[in-house]
């Protein structure tokens, strides 16, 4: 394969692999910047995948080609509501945020599979008839070379994810909402004395993470797995969490990290076809993405500072 061919096969794969991680990681960025650790991302993705698939299966005939999009919206809403549990526990009930995050993971998977068995009488759903399909982005795909690499046979969702990342950056760094949210995660009491409602901010942030996690999960399910089961979401949520930290709690950083995972992953797939790499034992290619991540962190990313108030319930009048 020529270098160009390699690029041409790597990029689209990396893009669809990363998209769900980007959405979810952005969610993580919001909730953690407000001072609420979110180990529950995995669970939020599970919920998103479950809802996305169920809705798609149920309403495919009603909505036709629009079904996947509507499914994602529904998944978004439901997961946002679901994430309220995490908000209530860790903001109002002063629960240890890690604990309640872990609970979210258990609950989502339990509910998802339980209900699947209730509604479909089996542990996994059928395949959806209206998944997301890749396409050539109009105009952009006509750009010579670049067009064929970046905009042919790609999923809109991938680019929406990237756009979301930019929007998230804008919200967090350019709007008062973003500044307040960040202040709540850095120094809640300072925010409070400035008349910002710490609890409200954190509720909103957690629900945003729920919404984005829901999108991430449903996009994964409707692009890649096409059905829901126990093993639809296995670890993608944790990879997203890693992306949040890897990206130093910065939306664009998180996006970068997610894309990094995607590229590493597709590289490891492609390389078994690349002459030089063919002879390396398979396992090295398989673990390469994870090893690379660690090396990157140790090498040039280094120390990353979590938001100061992370994992601390805010109680008025204590320092």
């Amino acid at each position: 394969m020529s270098f160009l061919d390699i690029l041409q096969s790597i990029v689209p794969i990396a893009l669809f692999y990363s998209a769900p991680l980007i959405f979810t990681a952005l969610g993580g960025v919001f909730s953690e910047r407000s001072g609420v650790v979110n180990i529950g991302l995995e669970g939020l993705m599970v919920m998103g995948a479950f809802v996305g698939i169920v809705f798609n299966l149920t309403f495919a005939d009603t909505f036709g080609a629009a079904t996947p999009w509507i499914s994602v919206l529904v998944a978004m809403v439901v997961s946002a509501v679901f994430s309220l549990l995490h908000a209530v526990a860790s903001v109002s009930f002063r629960a240890d945020q890690v604990v309640s995050g872990v609970a979210i993971n258990f609950l989502a998977l339990g509910l998802g599979v339980f209900l699947t068995k209730q509604w479909y009488g089996k542990g996994q759903t059928d395949m959806v008839s209206q998944p997301f399909y890749s396409q050539n982005i109009p105009l952009l795909s006509d750009i010579p070379i670049l067009g064929s690499i970046f905009f042919e046979g790609v999923y809109l969702t991938s680019y929406i994810a990237i756009i979301f990342a930019i929007i998230a950056w804008f919200i967090l760094y350019k709007t008062s909402f973003g500044m307040r949210l960040t202040s709540v995660g850095q120094h809640p009491m300072a925010a409070d004395t400035n008349g910002i409602n710490v609890y409200a901010m954190r509720y909103v942030a957690v629900m945003i993470s729920g919404a984005l996690g829901g999108i991430g999960g449903s996009v994964f399910a409707l692009t890649i797995a096409l059905n829901f089961s126990q093993s639809t979401i296995v670890g993608q949520g944790f990879m997203s969490l890693a992306a949040v930290i890897f990206g130093k709690w910065h939306p664009l950083g998180a996006m970068g990290a997610a894309l990094f995972f995607g590229f590493a992953q597709s590289l490891s797939v492609i390389s078994s076809g690349v002459p030089l790499l063919e002879d390396i034992p398979k396992v090295y290619l398989t673990i390469a993405p994870y090893v690379l991540t660690i090396l990157a962190l140790a090498g040039f990313i280094g120390r990353s500072e979590a938001p100061k108030a992370n994992n601390q319930p805010y109680i008025k009048g204590t320092r």
Partner: protein
């Protein structure tokens, strides 16, 4: 008057009850009979000696992974990597168990030690990266989980065997299982590991609460600056904590390799022993005793759940939900305390 001690006992108990209650409500609303559901659960866990044995067997690794995660937490570190540490520990134990041949009093300890060292090494990596470069342990441990999964599989397939899916059985001299236990529990796979688990729990309790090492660990966990000021070597403590934590998780793997299975299959996914360990640790409030109790609860529910479909037609996932809710209630203990106080006031 509610003393703190009473709270610390009451709150978890109430949480468990609430969790089970919620579970019952769910069963009702989906047209199952909660009574028979829970009876099936109970019988599945303690119905007869066999299932009792299996429950204990399930509890054993949970104690280890729970302790591992809890120990790291006490020093301010979040070890999501127990999963991977279990896998490498399992592999190391089986490796020694299958390849070495020596009398039991050497072979068994050797295999267990190997598991500990393997896990410890898997904990050492995030430990040193955190201590020297400030790399966040959470990512590193997540990545190491995957690396462990794939490389142990590769080793099983291409080093320990010739493209087989499971290693050979370990030799008797490295096995934790005992005939008399099997006899007693009608061939359950309960094994000596539980004793080791309880022993380690006691050791950890002692280490954390009673020794200078534990004092340092806790101090570093709370305030690294003050610990440095006080002359403690923060980096050393972080590494130490992760190494011990990883080692204990590794022992959890040994339980599977030398006790439950006696071999190691190539895993198509994570065992979840490590991930469940996080929940166990948190349920147990990161204390040794708490972890042991939480592990028993967890093991009971998990094994009992297997009997719910056959015994009462209830999908076993219901138990996952119950577990989740219990964790929530424990986490929200603040509210439960508050309610208890209210009740007390009303009482007067």
């Amino acid at each position: 008057m509610f003393t703190n001690r009473m709270f610390n006992i009451l709150v978890p108990v109430i949480s468990v009850l609430l969790g089970l209650l919620a579970g019952a409500i769910i069963m009702l609303s989906f047209g199952y009979n909660p009574i028979s559901g829970y009876i099936a659960l109970w019988n599945g866990a303690f119905g007869d000696w066999y299932f009792f044995g299996e429950t204990i067997r399930q509890v054993t690794p949970y104690i280890f992974t729970g302790l591992a995660v809890a120990f790291a937490f006490r020093s301010g570190l979040f070890n999501i990597g127990a999963e991977g540490q279990v896998l490498v520990g399992w592999l190391a134990a089986v490796w020694i168990g299958t390849t070495v041949d020596a009398p039991m009093f050497i072979h068994l300890p050797l295999a267990i030690l190997a598991a500990f060292l393997a896990g410890a090494f898997w904990g050492f990596i995030p430990g040193i990266l955190k201590a020297k470069l400030g790399v966040h342990e959470v990512i590193v441990t997540i990545m190491l989980n995957y690396i462990a999964l794939y490389s142990t599989n590769a080793i099983i397939r291409s080093v320990l065997t010739d493209r087989e899916d499971t290693t050979d059985k370990i030799s008797e001299s490295a096995s934790l299982s005992a005939d008399w236990i099997m006899q007693l529990t009608a061939y359950s796979r309960m094994h000596y590991g539980i004793l080791l688990a309880l022993l380690v729990a006691v050791l950890i309790w002692f280490l954390i609460d009673k020794t200078t090492l534990g004092y340092e660990i806790r101090s570093v966990g709370y305030n690294q600056h003050a610990s440095r000021y006080a002359g403690m070597n923060v980096g050393k403590n972080i590494i130490f904590a992760m190494v011990i934590s990883g080692g204990i998780a590794g022992l959890g793997g040994a339980m599977e390799g030398l006790g439950t299975f006696g071999y190691m299959p190539a895993h198509s996914g994570f065992t979840n022993i490590g991930f469940d360990g996080i929940a166990v640790a948190l349920l147990g409030g990161n204390t040794a005793l708490g972890v042991v109790i939480a592990a028993f609860l967890f093991g009971t529910l998990k094994i009992g759940a297997l009997n719910m479909p056959t015994g009462a037609g209830v999908p076993s996932e219901l138990v996952e939900i119950v577990i989740a809710l219990i964790i929530f209630f424990v986490a929200s203990s603040f509210v439960i305390r508050w309610m208890l106080l209210r009740l007390k006031k009303e009482g007067k």
